[in-house]
Symmetry: C2
Subunit: 400 residues, 2 copies
């Protein structure tokens, strides 16, 4: 209910709109931008000049110089300066830690990864992040401008002590990660924002992945449990204080397996990694957990191991059950199976679809697409970088 | 990604913001409006003058004239012209038809209601609406300006032929209702918009009811089935093409009662009116259905009827089960039990809460409030009127 914006605010909005457009869609001619943004040519020219001066975009003559039939000067092409503007994407997931330097436009310029030992504390995880950032920042070209960082925290990695706990306080990672970046020698005034890994993967797939152009999307993030990043009407569905719900604790099987939340038959107890490993026979042996363990069961099943096949079929069935419920509740256009659920879905698509078809309303199934992440495992990292770029895109010339 | 607004658009936005504010919150002094809207005094004066000239607000000296301690001229009080600007709210629900004339500010000025016979066609329902509107419009004071109508269609009343069907095309009622209003002598150029009854009840409770000030709310609308109007982050959660999901077909009881959707153990087969009547003994006899039948079972239970008590307890248990799942999925601040679920919740609060406590995550239950509609049965009607006022509030001086 605030008052309308001033001329100065409008100019900033337009700068943000132009920068966001090339950030999302890549290099584009001034003529195309004029059409897409609904601004006139001279405004586009002035905005581009300001963004060029600020080192955020570059202009160049188009490569395919002068098609024969077109008269006049060719329209200059505007590109985001992926080489000159970067954010760090930090991901603390249940079984690994990843850090990437991501250029404007969503280009991964450099990356580091380490396995995360079971039981590793949040403090140790943050220390690892800090050492990766220090390393990468020292190696980055001198002209690169750092604008901020985004952190992704896996659903089951959220507790401050690194334990697999429920309901940690929102944003626990913000301050530790900010401190880690300071320790790594990054300027302290740049913003550090964190979000749930599932939400950020959904954001990335919606911005530039499988869900680009789809406004009603459920991204399922599988690790030790199941979380969801949900987009409805083009916007993230938040919960109280911005904390999303925990779809993994939707009860699908009354009287089913006890869940560590205290309830029984929660979706993630029937589908999660443990459900697969418990039934999967030799596949999950040797103390291996996480994505590697899930892949071992999938491989055993592919090689004809009966208990692995049975476990996969059972887990696929319950996966389809929960997806059917979410489809009935949200009426989405797309469900994306991410992380461990990607492997499970690809290996057990038949039971997933069969159960989904028996539960999902025909009216909702008609337009439903089942997909895996177009950005693969990078969805979480790209999403964390999107979070970091958000402030710059909202007000590109705010120099703080 | 559109360009920023012009000065003229800003003025219109501000007119809308002021009108929306008094529409939602009622009469308010210029001084308060200045503070609440963040605009300066002269701007508020100019905006008020324009809205007054357009017949949308009225200004008057405050009633409690001149408190002793306060110097200077008292600030004029701005009120919405409930007497002069109206919308029609049209509700076609499974067991009744209601029409209300609602003044700006959400005041019901006149209303009609008729029971809807089981099996009544959509065409007949629309004819009934038309006759009520004609009657009320003839009786309305001559100076009242009609600005549009909003239609609410009950979850189980949506099919074009009036049957209780699944998945009718979105907006089936728009054209029939528009035609009905024309037939009733209303001007054809005024907008007619329809929505799902659950969504509109949620909108009303969020605008001026139990959920005012709460941005994460689930309104449960019970009739022959269960629908939900869901608000997350202050916005309605839509589905594909704006069509919401059908929470009533979340499967809560695998292998449970067969549902007319083809699945088994859907939430509404375990909780809906039929579940209660099936078990409720004599309470639901005599072919009575709908809210009256539910009340009969509740009354029998209150008088000690064992089978009615058992049925209520069982239905309350499944109601708490589904609410627990929705709480885990959405992490809302409030769940509102509307229509038949209001009666069931009030009579079976203990089993509802007990099951909810066993399923809902402690982290989400801590901030959760369970409520009944502050607007009572009028929530649907007030919400339909809000839909009709939306266009006026967005651009108050657009005279078409």
């Amino acid at each position: 209910m605030r008052a309308g914006p001033s001329q100065e605010e409008i100019r900033r909005q337009n700068l943000g709109a132009l920068l966001r457009f090339v950030h999302r869609h890549g290099a584009m001619s001034r003529a195309e931008l004029t059409a897409k943004l609904g601004l006139n040519r001279s405004t586009i020219g002035a905005l581009t000049a300001e963004l060029t001066a600020a080192g955020l975009v570059a202009e160049a003559a188009p490569r395919e110089a002068g098609r024969a039939g077109r008269a006049g000067r060719p329209s200059l092409v505007v590109s985001p300066r992926s080489d000159a503007v970067c954010a760090y994407a930090l991901a603390i997931e249940v079984d690994r830690i990843r850090v990437a330097r991501v250029g404007l436009g969503g280009v991964v310029a450099d990356r580091r990864e380490a396995a995360r030992e079971p039981g590793q504390s949040g403090e140790e995880a943050v220390k690892q992040v800090s050492s990766f950032v220090a390393e990468m920042h020292a190696a980055a070209p001198a002209q690169v401008r750092y604008i901020g960082s985004g952190g992704a925290v896996g659903g089951r990695a959220r507790a401050a002590d690194g334990s697999i706990g429920l309901g940690p306080p929102a944003g626990w990672a913000d301050e530790p990660l900010r401190a880690a970046l300071l320790a790594a020698g990054l300027p302290g005034e740049a913003p550090v924002t964190t979000g749930a890994a599932a939400d950020l993967a959904a954001l990335a797939e919606h911005t530039r992945g499988a869900a680009a152009g789809y406004d009603n999307v459920i991204y399922l993030y599988g690790d030790a449990g199941i979380s969801a990043g949900i987009i409805a009407g083009g916007r993230r569905v938040p919960g109280y204080l911005g904390i999303p719900g925990e779809v993994g604790h939707m009860v699908v099987h009354p009287g089913g397996r006890p869940c560590r939340c205290g309830s029984q038959g929660c979706w993630e107890t029937e589908v999660g990694e443990q459900a697969l490993l418990r039934g999967g026979g030799g596949g999950g042996g040797g103390g291996v957990t996480g994505q590697a363990a899930v892949r071992a069961v999938v491989d055993s099943a592919a090689q004809g191991d009966t208990s692995a096949r049975t476990a996969l079929r059972r887990v696929g069935d319950w996966l389809g059950f929960g997806v059917g419920n979410l489809v009935n509740i949200f009426n989405p256009e797309m469900v994306i199976f991410g992380e461990t659920l990607r492997d499970i879905y690809l290996a057990a698509a038949a039971p997933v679809r069969s159960r989904l078809n028996s539960i999902g309303l025909a009216a909702s199934r008609g337009h439903l697409r089942l997909r895996t992440p177009a950005l693969g495992d990078d969805a979480v990292l790209i999403g964390a970088a999107e979070l970091a770029f958000e402030e710059l895109l909202a007000d590109p010339l705010d120099q703080r």
